[in-house]
Subunit: 358 residues, 5 copies
């Protein structure tokens, strides 16, 4: 997950220029149409944008989901058919957008971020939605379709879900996108708890690296998740009346989830800041321990080495002088020196004992 | 107290799905009905939701308290009887919710967090309330019933309390939940003061661990207590008119308590941040002390060891040369060396004295 | 000054329960009544609440000041006489309240914090006020009466002051409470400057302790002084019309003082944060100095000790071999070694000189 | 990029005084006029301000771009011709202004910052715009003209672009200025990622320097880029009606870009703060590693040196005493000492092994 | 520049009490009157407040500037003549006020802070203004008159400036006060850049002291400069209509300057925070360098000293045993030991080389 993960145009490019993914890195395109009323239900794979023309005039809810990399012609085809603004089409192709909502005369255009974690790597994919009278169009340039559960529920349950208008379908889709945060943060929460144990037990270089990586992920997630709250809030305020009064309570629920996720994000961020501070203190603590070992050893052996050094001097060659190291010639000289050594070492030991150095 | 302590559904689950606790970890269910007017007072243990049907039409205040883990049937039973929204029922079962308030046409739905501390472990339990015309329903999936004092007071005092409408009962219940913060923060305040004494006297590894744990608790408490202020504030604004004008002054009192608790929380948080900084400085200070001991010892004995090393050289084997360590053959050579040693040691001692190293 | 300094009820206590100080720690009670118009002035010590009954109906300003610990009967006596709300009476007895203002139909209830510093210990006492039509009641559970200057001025000057209504009297009292901040912060400012000098000259363990204590005091003062600004602001907004238009300019002045004090508080807080950072850097700096001394000594004497160690080897016992330490048998061997020692020491000295180590 | 990069007047200079660049550091002046309607298109190099007089009355969009250092006469010439406020003219010459927007009766005056990066040096140049009825004037005291792409597009495409009014031209110019942030932040993002790798692998003095420089650049960029968001926001609010309703959606797009750039700026800033913390921990970690090496060496060799020192003592000169170092005279004395040395070294090795020191 | 630099009254002093500077530290008083219309211009030194009476009734703009310490009689003289509020007069004498604006019925009262830097010491002086119908009064208790340029311009240019009303004169005076920030921050900006160079090249104790002083100055400047923005903003909002519509654009310019100065202040503050962090890292870095030198020396010489210590043992006295240090008696024993020493030293050297320690 890089710091800069936005696709953009060279400054000066005309507004509305599409930024189509280069052919070699394209994800195969699948266009799926679902059309339903309370009684009827229909699914269809689309080959071109024009095929969905006939479903638009019917009094049903039409949902077109475009999975994979769209090509220029198909995108402009949809643009013409539904009257989509060129700036919105440009935003769909410039991946890495900040989540946002634009309201046009007869459409809402929503960009969301779909976070995912797999094998400790966090990824964020862009999902775009158009909500119009009786239809929802969703674009997702990613490998796997996140909306399969919705399609299953629409297919199976005849009743309730299919009675509701297109804005309720938008709610169902946005709800899935936002709820992806729960498993993600559950996983990150476990990582933090594991790191905290490591931090106090045995902080090493890899602990520091892990904390730093975690912070980095949280920083980038934050950039993508905060604006989502604003998007849902805009839908709740519902100034343009795109959302039915009965659906708004559901968006409130969605908003609560977004806020809970952000609460966790902020708590995690603060917690990792603390961890860096604690890490530094831990390392300083261990440095102190290391230094104490060194100091004890040096303090113990330096005086002793000095003592034995004294009696290594060769003054005894001067055999005439009674002042030339008479100790060497004492009968109990050697045992006396050992007694001295033991006394000095014992004194040191008592000194460190009193200083609580072990 | 874990970082992630929310129960949630797999993304894509239909809205309103209940998340019933697995049978093995259920807490035994107790449903208690209290029904009172100024003159009458009645208590009853309920077996099913339907039993409370008869009390609903009477002009009394009905309070149903559900303690323990509710099962799916009973919960949907209450849902149908009182017309509760399925999203609210879902929130009751998804424990670990952020405190919030939802207002429906004829009901208020409130989620609160009940903090508690026992043996240095902080726990947070979820309590949910419905306030409707003439009734309050409270749900608490926990071991011990926090509302016993209210029930006692209702039972004993015929007068004042029983005259008041259902919103006053809600105030009494919320007040208990919020006031739990006072004993909690009194206990945490004592912990902080004990830690501060330890911090400056004898900072050790366990001090760091304690500070870190305290910060973690405060961080998680904050996540749960801040939204409670908003909940009470919403009740005071009273846009839907669920609260009687005369009760509002009591909710003001409740709000003041919530704010005082948050004030303490923020002061504690900041104080523990300071403690981490002071800890680091303290450890650095002690490292410096350790290093000074080492430096003094090394500076004292290294020159002395060098001196005695010099006279350990064997140049005296060359007995022909007058230049071959003539000191060894001086009459007062050995005492002279001791004088030199004492002079060097004394000089060092004066140097460190002047540098205020002890 | 403890982190938790609030008196509170056990959760579940009925609202309006008084929390009277235990008899053994009571401060003797003094109740002082002042009643004045432009022409007349009267002072009286009260024994019971009822004695002030007669002054209430007169068209004068009545000020009742209660100094010391009030007992239950007297407090409820005042409560009945002036129609005070039971929640307000509870707040008067629950010391350690956050400053706040409550407005009732015909009364304002204000709680303020009176900070004081004596011998480096900061204390905060609670002062409560009721402002009603023609009267002010003030409660202060403390040893010394802070309002003596006001009483003196009322007594002495017949004119101006006594013309003004009861809200001006409230201003005079609040102004004294807030202006206590100036001498307090003047004293703290001097402490900070003294600490800063110490910090850069000779940072020791006591410096750290002093900075930490200062921060702690500022933290707790902040908790009490920020809400006072809100209280005065509420009085200036004057939504209920308790304050005369002509008095408002005086409350503006009071507000300016409160803001100045908070400005200083925040500046002091930030300044002490800086001091902690500087302290850590200072300690690290001194550690580096200590280490340099050690390194210089070790680097100087270790090679020399090695050299003299070489010539302490006993290879000369092998008198047959010309390879067995021939240096020992050189005529100028010993002076040569000293030359070597001096050369090595000089080289080291030049090396450290070039590295600017002294 | 200096901290203080504003050109200003001595305090007390009359408002509206021009601050013309000294002749020696002037950039050659080029004045370019473009005048177009849907059908027609005209380009012209201007020599004086008066030459553009004739184009003002026509119903076309006139764009005058002034590249390089303007002289006093030409600037006041434009001032008179278009009725520009003297304070705005002063702002054009006082380079290093904060981006801002001023609205006059019939003109908008906009100041923007054009950031650029070349060879790791970030520069910020000031660009000023006037938007009036049917004309845009742009001033840029810089070497290279950033608006060449706009001119090319106007020249080539007859249709769409040329239909739009002058406010759309302003959008095109502002869009280029703001979009310069994308390549800039892409480049900075790569720098940050490179630094992060270095930080954990091999943090050195140059890493610290690089982090500090990056922070400094971000700090200064922030000062210039935050107000640009406000400028665009002001244009969107469109209180004076200078902007056509159809153009506003384009300014929304522009605003989104500005917000995305600020989001990245803040994320980068926070990320570099983290890096400083991680750096400090890394350095402490490495200090600990260094100390461990020292401690292991000292702990290993100091006891051994003591042991061999003992047997370097000359007590054996006293050949009469059986207590005078009898070990020296043992048959296996020397091998025994080696065994002792190896045992001590091995013991130490096991001790460090158990402490996980390598 | 002290932390506490406010002059204040003892709590309990009556509102409106003047706080006149003690005679010994008074600055000589100069009262200067300027009275002008478009055609006429008059200057006069005043001896008493009453002398300006005659100019008040004329339809001219009257500006009275009081430089130095005013005495009680003169100040109350002005107070009576112009109807100034006693609280404002008190504020004029209580130096060290926070910048603020008070609006009375027919007057505006403004307090500003005049920052100045001379020889690295920042000072802040208080300037007060009254704006009334046709007059401005300014008070400055300082040595040097900052408004000389305005007086010169009024004297010299007959036209434009003199046409404008009194509020434009207030703008000219406030503009000078605010623009003093530019040279001040230019000077501080240079200090910061010099410190940054020092910081990375050779951080010493004085660097730390300089950073700390700089932070302190910025902290205190902030306390005084932030409220000035609010003052100007209040004038722009112009709720009381004291400011002419045509003058407002000039106050906007003034506001822009105030904001630019605050932007710089905040950037400088953040930059010095960074510098403290970088300083700590730099010191740690250098500590590490010091430790490496020590470790290399110790690691190199300790094993060598051990080796030569071994051959300093006196086992050779036992001439009977073939195990008693046979190496000493080898023919090439001594060269062999040197080879060993060189091999060990070389091995260490390679080890450190591989670890990139030099």
């Amino acid at each position: 997950m890089a710091y800069f993960f936005k696709r953009y145009h060279v400054p000066g490019t005309p507004p509305g220029t599409l930024n189509i993914t280069a052919p070699e890195s394209r994800i195969p395109l699948k266009m799926h149409l679902v059309d339903y009323t309370e009684q009827e239900y229909l699914e269809k794979e689309l080959a071109t944008a024009e095929e969905c023309h006939e479903y638009l005039e019917r009094k049903s809810v039409t949902w077109i989901h475009i999975q994979g990399t769209i090509d220029r012609d198909t995108l402009t085809g949809f643009g013409k058919l539904f009257g989509l603004h060129t700036l919105s089409l440009e935003d769909i192709t410039n991946l890495g957008q900040r989540p946002k909502i634009d309201s046009f005369e007869d459409q809402l255009f929503v960009i969301m971020s779909l976070p995912a974690i797999s094998e400790n790597v966090v990824t964020i994919e862009q999902i775009s939605f158009f909500l119009g009278k009786g239809y929802v169009i969703s674009f997702h340039e990613g490998e796997s379709d996140p909306f399969t559960p919705v399609r299953n529920r629409l297919r199976n349950r005849a009743g309730k879900l299919r009675e509701k208008p297109a804005d309720f379908l938008l709610y169902l889709l946005l709800d899935i996108v936002i709820d992806q945060g729960f498993p993600l943060f559950e996983s990150l929460g476990e990582d933090i708890e594991a790191l905290e144990d490591e931090l106090l037990d045995s902080p090493g270089k890899s602990t520091l690296e892990d904390i730093h990586n975690l912070r980095r992920h949280l920083l980038l997630l934050r950039r993508m998740l905060w604006p989502q709250r604003e998007v849902i809030n805009f839908l709740i305020r519902n100034d343009q009346g795109f959302i039915d009064e009965k659906t708004i309570i559901y968006f409130h629920d969605c908003y609560d989830h977004a806020v809970q996720i952000l609460d966790m994000l902020e708590a995690y961020r603060e917690s990792t800041t603390n961890m860096l501070d604690v890490y530094l203190s831990s390392v300083s603590n261990r440095l102190n321990e290391t230094m104490k070992v060194l100091t004890v050893i040096a303090t113990l052996f330096m005086p002793l080495t000095f003592i034995v050094g004294v009696y290594g001097m060769n003054f005894s060659v001067n055999e005439q002088s009674p002042w030339a190291m008479p100790e060497l010639r004492w009968y109990y000289g050697y045992p006396f020196i050992w007694a001295l050594i033991i006394a000095v070492a014992g004194g040191m030991w008592l000194y460190f004992k009193r200083k609580h150095w072990w």
